[in-house]
């Protein structure tokens, strides 16, 4: 009877992969995300015209349709669209990572406190959270951007400011149910500190849901960042951003369709990738977000 799986790490990995790979979509999502991350990391070596990523003009090759050597064509000043899409992904991912790095720890910490300490901390934190949640995200970001300079830093700031409440609410809900679990009560009864209980007992059990939501949110943050850029409030030219590129190209539709269609498709692909990956993680972890 005493046989027990004491080497759980590999076993755990195998089981996780098995559950994850049962859904074909999540494997596709993982593939897309990994491909985009690799592509952006090694962008200077993997793109044919890295110099086209910034200010560059080559009117001789302006407005060329997809072909060789410009796989996705060139824009109105002769820059390779493929190169600019890959570099544009850099800004999208950067925005997503920075926003989530700022918003998630804040939101998670507030959620832990509100869920664990009933009474006034709960009331104060959750009412503020509700106020933020009641404002449409894009409207809030637009309001912040209207006051601040339109640039990437401020776009990140604006999006972060409206993103943390979602994590507060998610973690608050989880903690509210986890605090009655036997192991939490046992730790309380033995006299463990609130820091131990929150960080060691409760937080690890919130992470699967948080990680899943982060993956799904990468897609949303990228989409909102692109929307801001599309409206001219995010990344400023000549830096490449998918939203800006769609906006610029829109003027030349439908004749030079490739200028905005390919960046648009690129947004679609990255959003799809993160969404599929997030769905896969949700299945593996069995969490609701």
């Amino acid at each position: 009877m005493n046989a027990v799986a004491v080497a759980p790490a590999r076993e755990h990995l195998r089981r996780t992969w098995y559950a994850f790979s049962r859904n074909g979509g999540s494997v596709v999502g993982l593939g897309i995300v990994v491909a985009i991350v690799l592509l952006t990391t090694f962008a200077p070596w993997l793109t044919p015209f890295p110099r086209h990523a910034r200010a560059f003009t080559d009117f001789e090759h302006a407005g060329l349709p997809p072909g060789r050597p410009y796989a996705l064509g060139t824009d109105t000043i002769g820059r390779d669209i493929f190169t600019r899409v890959v570099f544009g992904y850099r800004f999208s991912l950067l925005l997503g990572v920075v926003v989530l790095t700022a918003a998630v720890p804040t939101g998670v910490l507030l959620g832990l406190l509100a869920g664990y300490y009933r009474g006034w901390p709960e009331t104060v934190i959750m009412r503020i959270t509700d106020i933020f949640l009641s404002i449409p995200p894009l409207a809030l970001a637009l309001a912040i951007m209207a006051v601040l300079q339109p640039n990437l830093q401020n776009a990140m700031l604006a999006v972060s400011a409206m993103w943390w409440p979602w994590y507060t609410r998610l973690v608050y809900g989880l903690v509210s149910s986890l605090r009655t679990e036997g192991y939490v009560q046992a730790a309380q009864i033995v006299g463990a500190s609130p820091a131990h209980i929150l960080l060691r007992e409760i937080l690890p059990n919130c992470l699967p849901a948080v990680l899943t939501k982060m993956t799904l949110d990468m897609a949303f943050v990228i989409l909102i960042g692109s929307s801001l850029s599309f409206l001219g409030l995010g990344v400023q030219p000549p830096d490449p951003d998918l939203g800006t590129m769609v906006a610029d190209g829109a003027k030349y539709m439908p004749d030079l369709w490739w200028i905005s269609v390919f960046p648009g498709l690129a947004i679609l692909v990255v959003v799809l990738g993160f969404s599929l990956l997030g769905d896969g993680l949700r299945d593996v972890f069995g969490v609701e977000v």
């Binding site: 009877m1 195998r14 559950a19």
Partner: protein
């Protein structure tokens, strides 16, 4: 005087693909429920009793589950039916009573909404609105819910645990199914309410002449409600007998161990239980799956156990009763 069979499970096997390999859980289940008969299926966690139920309901589907065998219900093999026809049978001719009434009722609809929804799917066609309403009130009265009008308008959270269980019974019985499968009914409830539920089920089922398959781990509940019992261990039937016989003279070493494990009101201490654990379904022992835990195990147990008739309607899957006179058991 066995009644005409209504549900007949023949040599049912079910395996599951898992990340570690193929789990061979159901290993040749044979089980019959006669018309008007109340049959219990008892076993402990992981013995496959819930899987058997899910197989009957057609809920084991490839590619994860591999099912083999036959499940005959009223002259049709459920395993060979297309899923559309299976859906017709499920919920109309075969009804379910689940363990947890809160999980089985939808919290956002009133009891009336949910009960009328079931009535609308009556096999003899959808009744008129007033007719349906009348039927709903009548069945609620039958399950001894006072003030059925109020219950119809209530949401599940507004009812007590016992009332919710009664509503579930009403929903299961309202379309007059031929077979009711009850999964641990009332075991989530307190003992005084559980007894009321069992009494109610017994009287309703007898009055309507329904067949019941009761699935539970609680031996006391089986004894209170059924005519005949199947004891299941590790994916197959270890023993079957009329309920009174089984509790008086259990034959299979597992049945004996299980009955001996129950603490008794006479207060002679808590029995030790059965040593060992249920086998790993990825690599089950050959032959009798109980052999590794069995105090009477012998070399012959490496072969699949014989199915021996020891008494009228009393059969056991154990070599101890094969041919040679039965040995004396403590």
């Amino acid at each position: 005087m066995t009644p005409e069979p209504l549900l007949q499970i023949r040599d049912l096997h079910a395996s599951f693909v898992s990340y570690r390999g193929l789990a061979r859980v159901l290993n040749g289940v044979n089980l019959t429920v006669g018309r008007g008969e109340k049959v219990g299926l008892v076993g402990e966690t992981g013995c496959g009793k819930s899987l058997t139920m899910r197989a009957v309901l057609g809920l084991l589907q490839p590619p994860r589950a591999r099912v083999r065998g036959e499940i005959w219900f009223a002259g049709r093999n459920l395993l060979a039916l297309p899923s559309r026809e299976l859906e017709q049978i499920r919920g109309r001719e075969i009804a379910m009573i689940f363990q947890d009434p809160m999980a089985a009722l939808n919290p956002v609809f009133t009891i009336g909404d949910q009960l009328l929804d079931v009535i609308a799917r009556h096999p003899k066609g959808r009744p008129s609105a007033t007719e349906a309403w009348e039927r709903a009130l009548a069945i609620l009265r039958e399950v001894a819910l006072s003030d059925p009008e109020r219950v119809m308008r209530a949401y599940p959270v507004q009812l007590s645990g016992g009332m919710r269980q009664r509503v579930l019974i009403a929903m299961a019985l309202v379309n007059e199914p031929a077979l009711v499968i009850a999964d641990e009914p009332g075991t989530a409830l307190d003992v005084t309410i559980q007894e009321q539920i069992l009494l109610l089920m017994r009287s309703l089922v007898d009055a309507k002449g329904l067949s019941v398959l009761l699935i539970t781990h609680n031996l006391g509940v089986v004894r209170a409600l059924t005519d005949r019992v199947y004891v299941m261990y590790a994916g197959s039937i270890a023993e079957t007998a009329p309920t009174a016989d089984l509790f008086r003279t259990p034959k299979h070493p597992y049945t004996q161990g299980l009955l001996a494990s129950v603490p008794k009101l006479s207060g002679e201490g808590v029995p030790r239980g059965i040593e060992g654990m249920i086998p790993d379904y990825l690599a089950p022992p050959p032959g009798c799956r109980f052999a590794p835990r069995c105090p009477f195990a012998q070399p012959r147990c490496q072969q699949p156990p014989p199915w021996v008739t020891v008494d009228t309607d009393h059969q056991v899957a154990c070599v101890l009763y094969d041919a040679a006179p039965a040995p004396r058991l403590p």
